[in-house]
């Protein structure tokens, strides 16, 4: 037990972070780290490992931004947010960027005052059921109890899909993905619905993944991406081109393994521009010219990050599918870096 009211003032003073209104970049540089909003824990996307260190696909984006700005991928502090809190956290400048498998929609972009900087994962909503039920298609789900996470587009798509197909359902709503999974595993509901990536992620942490199947139907478009506040274009540009640099690097076959070699020896003008050996793309962003080099060296390109966190060989075992490069059958297509 302790306390005298002055300590509250002292403590409060320490924890108050004053952010300049205009330039997030200056502010981030001044405080020496990026405050990055992530999920409260979704395997493969963002979850603390056993040592309490954050890992995952979305976390890699934050690390890439940190590498681009500071040349060091670890100058990031993570704020776990629930689906409910994530937008107010960004609006109130509690976090600088939100990388939390968030669906890019019109109203979020326009009405809530955010700027989505691109899509880092093309997703769609699906359903997971227990194999024992013998369900083969989502159209057989009439009358089922569905577990869903609160405050998501998932909730709206679910209602639309069932109404459109003339089916009935009962929804049970929870705040975090973990609670939804727990309720589903306890058989409180028959169906677990969320983005398919999330379903695979959740299935990967179930004791017997084989007893559950993800139904083939994809009932919505869910382009997931990082987002920043409206009104600070420079910061938005840094976030946007961090993502694009990772995608472009994969297309150009620049990876963390060969980036040093390529930086020294490449004759490819596109790679030279990206790695900062020619041109001044970095300075135009307000960063150093080796910003993209730092990203690739420290975090890797898009493909590496995907393979490390989500791809075949990980517990999630997600195929690239739509998230392959445009010239490999997917729809990932970074605008040129020039």
């Amino acid at each position: 037990m302790k306390k005298a009211s002055f300590i509250a003032v002292a403590t409060a003073a320490t924890f108050i972070a004053t952010a300049a209104t205009a330039a997030t970049l200056d502010d981030v540089k001044a405080k020496g780290f990026i405050q990055c909003g992530v999920t409260t824990g979704l395997a493969g996307f963002a979850a603390p490992n056993n040592e309490g260190k954050w890992e995952g696909f979305d976390v890699d984006f934050c690390r890439a931004m940190s590498a681009a700005i500071f040349g060091d991928p670890d100058k990031v502090k993570y704020t776990p947010t629930t689906a409910k809190e994530r937008f107010t956290a960004l609006q109130s400048a509690e976090i600088d960027v939100l990388a939390r498998n968030t669906t890019w929609t019109f109203s979020r972009d326009v009405n809530l005052g955010f700027e989505f900087v691109g899509v880092n994962y093309y997703d769609g909503q699906g359903f997971m059921v227990k194999k024992a039920l013998g369900v083969k298609s989502a159209l057989e789900l009439s009358g089922a109890r569905v577990c869903v996470q609160s405050g998501t587009t998932t909730e709206l798509n679910l209602a639309d899909y069932f109404t459109a197909n003339g089916m009935k359902y009962d929804s049970v709503v929870f705040d975090t993905a973990d609670e939804v999974r727990e309720a589903y595993l306890k058989d409180t509901c028959d169906v677990y619905t969320t983005d398919q990536s999330g379903l695979y992620a959740q299935r990967s942490v179930i004791a017997d993944p084989e007893a559950h199947i993800v139904l083939p139907e994809v009932i919505s478009k869910e382009p997931l991406g990082p987002l920043v506040r409206h009104g600070d274009n420079q910061w938005g540009d840094i976030a946007r081109w961090t993502l694009n640099a990772m995608i472009e690097a994969e297309e150009l076959n620049v990876s963390s393994a060969n980036v040093d070699d390529l930086k020294a020896n490449t004759k490819n003008p596109g790679i030279q521009r990206m790695l900062g050996t020619s041109g001044d793309l970095g300075q135009q962003l307000g960063l150093s010219n080796d910003w993209a080099y730092n990203i690739i060296k420290n975090v890797g390109n898009y493909g590496e990050s995907f393979a490390r966190n989500l791809g075949e060989g990980t517990a999630l075992n997600i195929a690239r599918g739509l998230n392959a490069q445009w010239n490999k059958g997917g729809i990932l297509y970074a605008p040129p870096l020039r």
Binding site: Q91, S92, S150, G151, E155, L156, L158, V172, D187, R229
Partner: protein, 396 residues
């Protein structure tokens, strides 16, 4: 601080005069308060404008677009129903669980409060253990325990525990036959209401007769008889104007019949067992507060123990019990907001949760929710104050 007694008497300065000083302080407080409100309001306005959040209550008339698990007394469709409907459903659900919780908690509380005073050592200790264990564990832990640890141990739908033909218990809750009214059901409703009104009159009449002649009329049995008999007669007259819908095993869970969802059950059990422990303590201290002489006097007049408790002790104990009981009822209602942790669709989970998320209207949603709880608090206190006044000692 020195005190100049002289000053306040002679009033050589108006700052020494307590009256002026009071006015000065109050003006200062008002100024501080107003500037605080202005400061917060100003910041909020700027913040809202900067972030492009449109404030106002227009969102209430927009379609909600999401599904709700538990809908009572209303038609709800995700396509046409608005956020206002969501609010109303949230209110109904909160009231449903609070009212049934209050009812159940009162029963549990009175039983255990009386048991706690039992001369029987074993019974007494059981009540004591219940009270001391339950009161000292956070409600949220208990709710989660009920929902995630107890209800999920119940059998799956297909292995439901069956009581009789049509009463099913499984991990999806409790199902029982539903009565679906058809044409002519109104007469049964009317008969039921008539029976209640008649019971009240019989009670008054019996009181009067007892005062005049000393004869006792079995009011309770007469009332129960009326309340059962009248609707049955009405039903026979109209030729049973209802159909019974039995629960059946569907593909996923039980279909048909009425059912109580596991979320509702867990919340109801958690709330009433938790609050019941507090009520038991209140009942115990209320009964203890009645002087033992009252019991002895009643016994010496020849009243049997049961009648003594009912006619002598309880009426006096109630005066002590009612005020703290009121605050327990209020607590129960407010605690029902923990529903959000176990997925029951109450006002906090639905309106301050889902609606808030889908519309982003944080201030409006939380304000409306708070106003709702405030009005409930006010209503319950008003009702209990009225009741308290009615049973208060009439001094002649």
């Amino acid at each position: 601080m020195t005190t100049d007694v002289q000053g306040s008497v002679t009033g050589d300065s108006i700052f020494r005069d307590p009256r002026y000083r009071a006015i000065f302080y109050q003006i200062l407080v008002i100024a501080l308060f107003v500037s605080f409100v202005w400061y917060v309001g100003h910041n909020t306005a700027i913040n809202l404008e900067k972030r492009g959040i449109a404030s106002g209550f227009n969102f209430l008339s927009q379609p909600a677009g999401f599904g709700i698990g538990i809908v009572l007394l209303m038609d709800y469709s995700s396509q046409t129903s608005t956020h206002l409907d969501v609010l109303i459903i949230g209110i109904i659900n909160t009231l449903a669980v609070s009212i049934s919780g209050i009812f159940l908690a009162t029963i549990i509380g009175f039983i255990f409060g009386v048991l706690r005073l039992s001369k029987n050592w074993v019974v007494n200790k059981i009540a004591a253990v219940y009270i001391e264990v339950i009161r000292n564990i956070p409600l949220l832990v208990q709710l989660m325990f009920w929902y995630f640890a107890v209800l999920s141990v119940l059998p799956l739908t297909k292995d439901s525990i069956q009581i009789g033909e049509n009463f099913l218990i499984n991990n999806r809750g409790v199902s029982f036959p539903a009565i679906i009214p058809s044409n002519g059901f109104w007469l049964i409703t009317v008969a039921f209401l008539v029976a209640i009104v008649a019971s009240i009159f019989i009670r008054k009449w019996a009181h009067k007769r007892q005062d005049l002649t000393g004869q006792v009329f079995p009011v309770l049995w007469a009332s129960i008889g009326l309340i059962i008999a009248l609707p049955v007669i009405a039903s026979l007259i109209m030729g049973n104007p209802f159909t019974v819908n039995y629960p059946e095993f569907g593909r996923f869970s039980i279909t048909g019949g009425w059912s109580l969802e596991p979320e509702f059950l867990a919340l109801l059990l958690g709330l009433s067992i938790y609050t019941g422990a507090f009520i038991a303590e209140i009942v115990r201290s209320g009964i203890n507060a009645v002087s033992h002489g009252q019991t002895e006097a009643a016994h010496s007049l020849g009243l049997r123990p049961g009648i003594t408790t009912r006619l002598v002790i309880l009426p006096q104990a109630l005066r002590v019990i009612v005020p703290p009981l009121t605050s327990q009822y209020l607590n129960l209602t407010k605690n029902s907001s923990l529903a959000t942790a176990i997925g029951y669709a109450d006002i906090t989970a639905l309106f301050a949760g889902t609606s808030l998320n889908q519309t982003g209207q944080a201030i409006e949603c939380i304000m409306i929710t708070m106003i709702f709880y405030l009005s409930i608090s006010l209503l319950i206190s008003m009702f209990m104050n009225w009741y308290n006044k009615r049973i208060a000692l009439v001094e002649r």
